[in-house]
Amino acid sequence: MTGSPYLRIRSVQKSYKGALALNDIDLAVEQGEFVSLLGPSGCGKSTLLQILAGLLEPDRGQIQLDGADITHLPPWRRNIGLVFQNYALFPHLSIRQNVRFGLDMLGMGRAEAEKRVDESLELVGLDPSLSRRPGELSGGQQQRVAIARAIAIRPRLLLMDEPLSNLDAVLRHKVRLELRELHDRTGITTIMVTHDQAEALATSDRIAVMQSGRILQFEAPEALYGAPATAFIAGFVGSPPANLLPLTASGPDSWTLADGQLWQPAAILAPKANGAEAGRACLMALRPETLTIGTTGEGGLPARVAAVEFNGGDRLVHAEAGGTRITVRIAASQVVTGPEILLFPPPQAPVLFDAATGARL
């Protein structure tokens, strides 16, 4: 390789009926990566996937795959596998015929194609002797067939559009693990569109978070979780996501909370240490599992417990602090005493955003 990425998306723009669906998208994906496009519905993630598949043409910009410009190549000449939310298996063909469809298009000989069908079905954990119609299978099995069909052609890229969304919660978890395992075995460069941040965190090497037709951040799951680029990402990623505490710098050492209360935290959390001049309105991201609960001590954030959820392995404490709902995750063995508590953020540099723009301070 010459050092250029396997898949490169360059300033791609697309509008629908005057509205901008994709705004100047740049993305570089390395060979063998598992990348998720994560965002709420309408953020443009599916549009980007369709452009990669060749089903939509961008108004502007360029797509390069393996060194070649494929921007204007029709979908049937791209050799890119596609997996849909509703499986899109051809109901008039048997399972094996479905998997063979792309191989027939390649003009592959019968014996070789049959062997490839066996391999593909085995890869997704299905019995290759299945002679049934897709309609007779469960949703999870149908999606496995759809994946087998997409990988049978040995695609240069595997694109998946919300592949788990039609499955029930238990199956979704199972198939999501299988997707990652399959990727590790085949090494096919994979791009998955999802609105489920847990799905993206669990499966991906890197995640591109999208909002309103833009990519906000493109990083490994750990980086995305630990250092979100915008308040939107902090409030979206994680289950439960980070608490966003609105506060205004009232001096070098103290913040004013939304309800007018003054909060004098540990020095490292104070406005001065974070470059917030007096009067600056900010949002502080507080991860539920990093907060600790106490009753006495310096720098605690006064809060009032509203509800406690027991989740088996842990407890979620929902409390009001400075006029904002804050969620704290504590060990199941820990007991919360009294409605009045103090919340202690970890003694490290906090993640702060500008309240107006949502950008990192």
Partner: protein
């Protein structure tokens, strides 16, 4: 679960009775009479009928090239009309399903219009359009494309145009309902697997549209086979169809037994068409 209301059998019978009696009186009974009549014979030189059991009427149809010719014309005319309707309706139905959003109801309404305004009115309109001094010939002449009028009336061309106009909705409606049930993702999936647009049609869309194609074709074929008003007016007596032969015998020659036999032959071909349709649908049903 939905509960069916508890209705007593006697109440059910009472509810069904009016329609059943009406159907028996005005459809089943005359139909049985028609069957019996086709085996009777006409008294020579009179309009009286002799009850008997003779196959003479059927033998006359098979033995006379005039009637066999009429049958043959009707069959291939119906086949042609079915094919033309299919070719015209496929792209139209697909376009309505894919692209008509708010206007869909209106477009489907327009498609149904020829069905609900009867055969006479649109056919007379067509006479005006197709006649040697009609709109089409006039327009072509004034553009200098032709010198003498194209013969569009009193031949197969005119009758086909009229029948296609009349029965196109019978093809469009089943097609729309089948195409609506084909998710757009099938096409995308096929294209991603290397299928060009043509191959997508051949290997994915057409097989999935087949139930609608079979239903629509059956409807158009049967309707064309029995059509009377349109071939009569646009054929101007020069296109001999089976329905017009039966009409001649029944209303002009007053040979009711022979007219009945002609009707029975027509019915036989309707049944055959229905059988072929059923067999194809069953074959499809086994595949999906």
């Amino acid at each position: 679960m939905k509960q069916t209301p508890d209705i007593k059998p006697i109440a059910t019978a009472l509810l069904v009775a009016p329609a059943a009696i009406l159907m028996f009186g005005v459809f089943i009974l005359p139909f049985l009479f028609l069957v019996v009549l086709s085996f009777w014979s006409q008294a020579p030189g009179s309009v009286g009928m002799t009850p008997s059991f003779t196959l003479a009427n059927y033998a006359r149809i098979i033995g006379d090239s005039y009637y066999l010719g009429g049958l043959w014309t009707t069959l291939w005319l119906s086949g042609l009309v079915t094919l033309l309707c299919l070719v015209l309706a496929l792209p139209l139905a697909r376009w309505i399903v894919l692209h008509a959003k708010r206007s869909k109801g209106l477009l489907i309404g327009l498609c149904i219009l020829p069905l609900v305004c009867g055969a006479l009115l649109p056919t007379l309109g067509l006479v005006n359009l197709l006649s040697p001094l009609g709109f089409i010939n006039g327009a072509l002449k004034s553009m200098g494309l032709i010198k003498t009028s194209l013969p569009l009336l009193g031949n197969i061309a005119g009758v086909s145009i009229g029948l296609v106009q009349a029965f196109l909705p019978l093809m469009i409606l089943p097609l729309i309902s089948t195409i609506e049930r084909i998710p757009h993702d099938y096409e995308k999936a096929a294209m991603s697997l290397g299928a060009t647009r043509l191959v997508v049609w051949r290997r994915v869309l057409l097989p999935l549209m087949l139930p609608g194609i079979v239903a629509g074709s059956l409807l158009v074929f049967c309707a064309s086979l029995t059509a009377f008003v349109t071939p009569q007016i646009l054929g101007q007596g020069k296109v001999v169809t089976f329905a017009s032969l039966a009409y001649q015998q029944a209303a002009m020659v007053l040979d009711w037994p022979f007219a009945s036999a002609l009707g029975m032959v027509m019915l036989l071909f309707l049944a055959l068409a229905g059988l072929v349709g059923a067999l194809v649908s069953r074959g499809l049903g086994r595949r999906t």
